[in-house]
C-alpha cells in the first residue's frame, strides 16, 4: 500500500515541485532581461572554448596591414576526411594543424609542417582550399601581403609551391579576398583575387584601392594562369563570392568593399560570361548603390526560391539582402531584410559598451540541427577605433520558426573579449555538431567545441543532422564546386551551394552540414555544376554520406 502511495506522489507531487521551483527562480532581473532581449525558442547549443587544450596555440598579429585578414582554411589535408586547419598568422608564420580529434571527443590538433618554406608562410592574411588541378587532393590558395601562393596539395598534409609551374604571377598586392569557380565547359577553375589598399598609390591609404584580379586558365590541356584580367575599379575588397544570384547557371562575382578607404565606391557585382571579359553591373542594369564597410559575405537561400540571400557584415548594421519584387533574372535589385529578420547585429548584445559593432567573417550554418539556418558573425574592433565598441563579442543568431533570428552568443558561450576576424564552423570531432574556430587579431585563436545541450564532459545531441560530400570522380572539378545540394525533409527543402569564396579571408571544403530537425530520414538531390540533376538519394539521419556522381546509392562514411 505504501508503495502505491509513494508512486502516486511521483505522478502528482513532482510536477508541483517543478512548477514551484520554476516560479522561485524567475527573478525580477531575469524578467527584465527577457523584456530587453528576445529569447530563442529554438535550442541554443553550448560551446566550450578549448583551443589551448586542443593544441591550437596560434596568434594572428602584426601592424596596420594586419588589421584586416586573419583567415583560416578548413579542409582535409591528409585524406582522412576530418577537417584540418591552415591558419593565417600575419607577421607570424601561418601554420597547418592536423585534426587529431576523436569522434565525439575533445578537440585535438597537431601542428604539422607543410613542405613550404617558412618565409613564404609569413605575411599571410587568409586562405581558401580548392582542388585547382583536379587531382582530387585539396590545394590551397594563400592570400598574402605580397605574393599570393598557389599551393598544390600532395597528400599527407604536404604542399608544393605551384606559382611558377602554373605561370601564376602572385603579385605584390595586399590581397584580402578570394573566390573561384569552374566556368561552364572549363577544365580548370577561374580564380578571383580581391585586393585592399594600394599602399604605393599617391595619397594612400585614402581613396587608394587596388584593382581586383581574375585569372582564367589558359586554353590547352596543361593548367596555366598566365593571363590576368583586371576588375577595375577596385574598392578595397574584403570579401568576394562567385554566386549564381539569378539561377542562370552562370555565376557572377559579388564583391564586398570597405568604404573606409574608397572614394565613390560601392558594393559590386561582376558578370563573367565564358570567354568574355568581366563586366560590372551598373545602375542601368538595376544594381543599386550601396556603401558599407563590407567585410564578409555569407550566402544562403533562406526561402529556397533559387535566389540566394546575402548577409554582408559591416561596421554597425549587418545587411541581409533579398531580391526585391522589382528584380528579375536580369535585374539585380535587392532590399535589406536585416531589421525585419533581426540580424542587424549593430551593437554588442551584452556588456556595457553600446557603440556600434564591427563585423568580419559571417557564415550561415545550422548549429543546433533544427533544420533552420543560423548566422554566425565574427566581431571585433579594427584596432582601437574610438567610435566603435571595444568589447564586441561574436554573434550567434539562431534561426527561429517565424523566420527571425535571435541573438544567443552569450548563452552559447562564444562571447569572448577578443577581436574576431576570420572564422569557420565545421564538425571537427565528427559528432554531428558544428564546432567553431575563430581567428582573433593579436589574441589566441579561439576553438569552440559544440557540446549541444550538454557539457564538455557530457555532450548531448540536438536535432538530427546529415553530412554530405559530393564528388565527380574522373572528371574536372572533382569536388563539384558550383553544385547545389538539396535536402528534402517532409514538405521542407534545404539547399546549399558548393562554393569557394566569401567569409572574411576564410574558406572551407569538406562535408556540407545539414540540420534535419526531427526527421530521421531525408532525400538528397544534387544539381551538378553542369546543371543536370541527380535522382533522389535516400539517406538516414545522423550519418555522413558520400554521393559520387552517377552512383545509384549514397555511401556511408564512418570516422571510426
Amino acid at each position: 500500500m505504501s508503495r502505491r502511495i509513494e508512486f502516486s506522489r511521483a505522478f502528482l507531487i513532482a510536477p508541483m515541485l517543478a512548477f514551484a521551483a520554476s516560479a522561485l527562480t524567475n527573478t525580477p532581473s531575469q524578467a527584465q532581461d527577457e523584456t530587453l532581449r528576445q529569447s530563442s525558442l529554438a535550442p541554443v547549443p553550448h560551446f566550450v572554448e578549448e583551443a589551448h587544450a586542443a593544441g591550437l596555440d596560434h596568434k594572428y598579429e602584426g601592424p596596420w596591414e594586419y588589421f584586416v585578414g586573419g583567415g583560416v582554411a578548413i579542409f582535409d589535408c591528409n585524406g582522412d576526411r576530418r577537417p584540418d586547419l591552415f591558419v593565417a598568422g600575419g607577421q607570424n608564420e601561418a601554420a597547418l594543424y592536423r585534426n587529431d580529434s576523436s569522434p565525439g571527443g575533445a578537440l585535438a590538433f597537431s601542428k604539422t609542417a607543410t613542405g613550404i618554406s617558412d618565409q613564404r608562410l609569413t605575411k599571410v592574411l587568409g586562405a581558401y582550399p580548392i582542388d585547382f588541378d583536379n587531382d582530387s587532393i585539396q590545394d590551397l590558395v594563400v592570400l598574402r601581403l605580397g605574393e599570393n601562393l598557389l599551393l598544390k596539395g600532395k597528400g599527407a598534409c604536404q604542399f608544393e609551391l605551384a606559382n611558377r609551374s602554373l605561370a601564376f604571377e602572385g603579385g605584390r598586392e595586399w590581397s584580402t579576398a578570394f573566390s573561384a569557380i569552374w566556368e561552364q565547359g572549363a577544365t580548370y577553375p577561374t580564380l578571383a583575387f580581391g585586393n585592399y589598399v594600394d599602399r604605393s598609390a599617391p595619397g594612400a591609404p585614402w581613396g587608394a584601392c587596388h584593382d581586383n584580379f581574375v585569372f582564367r586558365p589558359d586554353e590547352g590541356d596543361a593548367l596555366k594562369y598566365a593571363q590576368v584580367l583586371r576588375l577595375s575599379p577596385g574598392y578595397c575588397t574584403l570579401s568576394m563570392l562567385f554566386t549564381d544570384w539569378n539561377r542562370s547557371g552562370e555565376p557572377a562575382l559579388r564583391v564586398s568593399n570597405d568604404r573606409h578607404y574608397y572614394r565613390g565606391g560601392e558594393e559590386q557585382l561582376w558578370a563573367l560570361s565564358p570567354g568574355r571579359p568581366p563586366r560590372p553591373y551598373r545602375r542601368s542594369d538595376g544594381w543599386r548603390h550601396l556603401k558599407i564597410w563590407g567585410m564578409g559575405i555569407a550566402s544562403i537561400d533562406l526561402n529556397v526560391d533559387g535566389f540566394p540571400e546575402y548577409a554582408l557584415t559591416s561596421m554597425g548594421d549587418t545587411k541581409l539582402q533579398m531580391l526585391d519584387d522589382e528584380a528579375d533574372e536580369s535585374v539585380p535589385v535587392y532590399r535589406d531584410i536585416a531589421f525585419e529578420r533581426g540580424v542587424t547585429a549593430h551593437r554588442p548584445y551584452t556588456g556595457e559598451d553600446l557603440r556600434p559593432s564591427t563585423g568580419w567573417h559571417s557564415e550561415f550554418q545550422d548549429v543546433n540541427n533544427d533544420g533552420l539556418w543560423d548566422l554566425y558573425i565574427a566581431k571585433g574592433n579594427v584596432e582601437a577605433m574610438p567610435d566603435f565598441a571595444a568589447f564586441d563579442p561574436d554573434n550567434l543568431l539562431i534561426g527561429q520558426w517565424d523566420e527571425s533570428f535571435v541573438e544567443t552568443g552569450d548563452i552559447a558561450g562564444i562571447d569572448l573579449d577578443r577581436r574576431g576576424r576570420g572564422a569557420g564552423l565545421a564538425d571537427f570531432n565528427m559528432d554531428g555538431l558544428l564546432d567553431l574556430v575563430v581567428i582573433n587579431r593579436s589574441a589566441p585563436v579561439s576553438l569552440f567545441r559544440n557540446v549541444g545541450s550538454g557539457t564538455a564532459d557530457a555532450p548531448q545531441p540536438l536535432g538530427n543532422w546529415l553530412g554530405v560530400e559530393i564528388r565527380q570522380p574522373g572528371v574536372p572539378n572533382p569536388f563539384a564546386v558550383g553544385a547545389k545540394v538539396s535536402v528534402k525533409i517532409g514538405n521542407r527543402t534545404i539547399v546549399r551551394d558548393v562554393q569557394v569564396g566569401a567569409g572574411h579571408a576564410s574558406g572551407q571544403a569538406g562535408f556540407l552540414h545539414f540540420g534535419l530537425g526531427v526527421s530521421e530520414r531525408a532525400q538528397v538531390r544534387v544539381r551538378w555544376p553542369d546543371g543536370s540533376w541527380s535522382h533522389g538519394y535516400r539517406v538516414f539521419a545522423n550519418h555522413h554520406v558520400i554521393i559520387d556522381r552517377g552512383d545509384e546509392a549514397a555511401k556511408l562514411w564512418f570516422a571510426n
Binding site: 508512486f7 533544427d370 517565424d402 530537425g517 555511401k555
Partner: protein, 476 residues
C-alpha cells in the same frame, strides 16, 4: 532531469483549476469528467523513484491507451497534418474526424481491440497510411493517395522491440569491426551480416571509412532494425506512439511537436499546449511493452493437438519457418525507455539524466517463456524481424499498394509475426484475406517456394498447418 522537455506544469495547472469544482472532492475531477488526462506524469520522478512500480505505470498507460481523448485536452489537429515530421496544413481541417486522412480515432483501443485491448483490428479498423506531406487531406480510398492497412496487434511488443534493439546493436558492432579492420589492414572488408541467425545481406567497408550498403537485405542502410508497422519502418513503441497520437487522435506529444522543434507549444493550433508529456508517452509505452505475448490455444481437443503438432513440423519442412522463425533468443529483459537508438523528435537517452528501466523479467508471462542453454529467453514470435519481397507478377495480391513507405518498396513488407494469428483474422497487410489458406496462397516473391511447398501438400497436411496456425492465439 529530462532536459529539453520538462512539460508537466500545464497538466498540473489543469488539475489545480479543476480542483475548484464543487463535485471534485480530492481528485480535482468530477466523477463524470470526460477527460482522459487527469494528472501529470513526471518522467524524472518515475525514473528516480526507488520504489518504482511497473504495474502502476502500466495501469496509467492503459488509461491513456484506452481513453477517448476529447477536444478540451487536445484531441484534433485543425492546423497540422498526420505527418510524423511536424507539418502545417495548407488550410484548417474542415472536419474533426475524417475516416481517411484523420482524425480516424480518438483512442488507441478503438482499433487495437481484438480480441483484447492492445490486440488487432478487423477490416473496419483499417488505417489509410499517407506520409502526410503532399495531399495530406485526401478524401478518397484511391491508392495513389494512401496505403490501406490492417491494424496489427501489439501483444508481446515489448519483447519484439528488445529483440530489435539487440539485433541493431549487434549489426552495428559488426559494421564497426569491419570499418576498423579495413582501416588497419588497408584493404576492403566485405561482411556477411547476421544476427540471431537472421542474415541481412552484405556490406563492404573500404580502408578510408566508406561503407557500401547496396548489398544489404531487409533492413535500412543505417542498420537500425525497425520492427513495427507492416513495413517495418518504425523503430520503437515510443516512436510509433508519438506518430500515432498525432495521426489518429490529434494528440501531439511535446517531445516532437513542442516548442523546441516547432517554435510553438500548440503546433496544431487547437488552443491546447503541450498535449502529451514525456511521462504520459512513457506510460503508454509501458502499457504496450508489457502486453502479454500470444501463446497457444488451450485447451484443445486431441484431434487438434495432434494436427497442430504435425502441422508445426510441416510448417518448418515447407520452408515457412525460414522467415516465420519459431523463436528468436533475447539476452536482456530490461526495457529501457527511451530506446537507445532513438533520434531527435522522440525522447532519446541523451534527453534524460536517468532513463526509465522496465524489467519485463518480473512479469509472470515472461517468466513462463522457455530459455535456451545460454539462459536467453526464447521469444516465440514466428518471425525474423526482416523485410522481404512478398509479391511478384504471378502473385500480386500482397503487392497491391502504389506508394512506397519511408523508402521501402511497395511490394516489400516485414515478415508478419504469426504469434496471435489464430484469432486476429482477417489477414494480409490490408486485412482483406478472410482465411489463413488465402493469405498463404497469396505469398509470392521470396516466399514463392514455401508457398508452392504448402500448396503441393495433400489436403490433410495443409489442414494440419492450418490447425497449427489456428492454435497460435492471443489469450482472452
Amino acid at each position: 532531469m529530462a532536459r529539453p522537455f520538462t512539460l508537466t506544469v500545464g497538466s498540473f495547472l489543469s488539475a489545480l483549476v479543476l480542483g475548484s469544482s464543487a463535485f471534485a472532492g480530492g481528485t480535482g475531477f468530477n466523477p463524470w469528467d470526460e477527460r482522459v488526462i487527469r494528472e501529470g506524469i513526471d518522467y524524472d520522478a518515475l525514473a528516480n523513484d526507488p520504489e518504482f512500480s511497473l504495474e502502476a505505470l502500466r495501469d496509467k498507460g492503459k488509461e491513456l491507451f484506452e481513453g477517448r481523448f476529447i477536444k478540451d485536452e487536445g484531441a484534433g489537429r485543425p492546423n497540422a497534418t498526420q505527418a510524423i515530421v511536424p507539418t502545417k496544413r495548407r488550410r484548417p481541417a474542415g472536419h474533426m474526424f475524417l475516416r481517411l486522412s484523420g482524425l480516424d480515432a480518438n483512442s488507441c483501443q478503438s482499433c487495437h481491440a481484438m480480441p483484447v485491448s492492445g490486440g488487432a483490428g478487423d477490416f473496419t479498423a483499417n488505417v489509410f497510411v499517407s506520409e502526410g506531406f503532399e495531399s495530406a487531406d485526401f478524401d478518397t480510398t484511391d491508392p495513389q493517395f494512401s496505403n490501406e492497412r490492417g491494424t496489427n496487434h501489439l501483444m508481446g511488443a515489448g519483447l519484439i522491440e528488445l529483440l530489435a534493439r539487440e539485433m541493431t546493436a549487434d549489426l552495428r558492432a559488426q559494421r564497426s569491426k569491419a570499418v576498423v579492420a579495413a582501416r588497419e589492414n588497408g584493404q576492403a572488408v566485405t561482411l556477411q551480416l547476421e544476427t540471431k541467425g537472421v542474415s541481412f545481406g552484405v556490406l563492404t567497408a573500404q580502408p578510408d571509412g566508406l561503407v557500401e550498403t547496396s548489398g544489404l537485405e531487409g533492413i535500412d542502410s543505417d542498420l537500425t532494425l525497425r520492427p513495427f508497422g507492416q513495413k517495418g519502418v518504425f523503430g520503437s513503441l515510443r516512436q510509433f506512439t508519438v506518430n500515432a497520437l498525432n495521426q489518429h487522435s490529434g494528440m501531439q506529444p511535446a517531445e516532437r511537436y513542442g516548442v523546441a522543434w516547432t517554435g510553438t507549444a500548440d503546433f496544431d493550433g487547437d488552443g491546447v499546449d503541450n498535449e502529451i508529456s514525456i511521462g504520459q508517452v512513457s506510460a503508454m509505452v509501458a502499457y504496450q511493452a508489457t502486453l502479454p505475448a500470444p501463446g497457444r490455444k488451450t485447451p484443445l481437443p486431441d484431434i487438434w493437438v495432434e494436427a497442430a503438432k504435425h502441422g508445426e513440423h510441416l510448417f518448418s519442412e515447407a520452408g515457412c519457418a525460414s522467415c516465420h522463425r519459431p523463436s528468436l533468443p533475447l539476452e536482456s529483459l530490461v526495457f529501457q525507455d527511451p530506446n537507445p537508438f532513438e533520434t531527435a523528435g522522440t525522447l532519446r537517452p541523451s534527453d534524460v539524466t536517468t532513463a526509465l528501466k522496465l524489467d519485463l523479467g518480473t512479469l509472470d508471462w515472461v517468466k513462463a517463456l522457455p530459455k535456451d542453454d545460454q539462459g536467453r529467453t526464447l521469444v516465440p514470435l514466428f518471425g525474423d524481424l526482416k523485410r522481404h519481397r512478398i509479391a511478384d507478377a504471378a502473385r500480386d495480391t500482397l503487392g497491391n499498394e502504389l506508394l512506397s513507405q519511408r523508402f521501402v518498396a511497395r511490394d516489400v513488407f516485414l515478415t508478419a509475426e504469426l504469434w496471435g494469428v489464430g484469432n486476429t483474422a482477417p489477414y494480409g497487410h490490408r486485412g482483406d484475406l478472410t482465411t489463413l489458406h488465402e493469405v498463404i496462397d497469396a505469398h509470392g516473391g521470396e516466399a514463392t517456394e514455401a508457398r508452392k511447398a504448402y500448396t503441393a501438400l495433400p489436403e490433410n497436411d495443409r489442414q494440419a498447418i492450418l490447425a497449427f496456425l489456428k492454435s497460435l492465439e492471443i489469450a482472452e
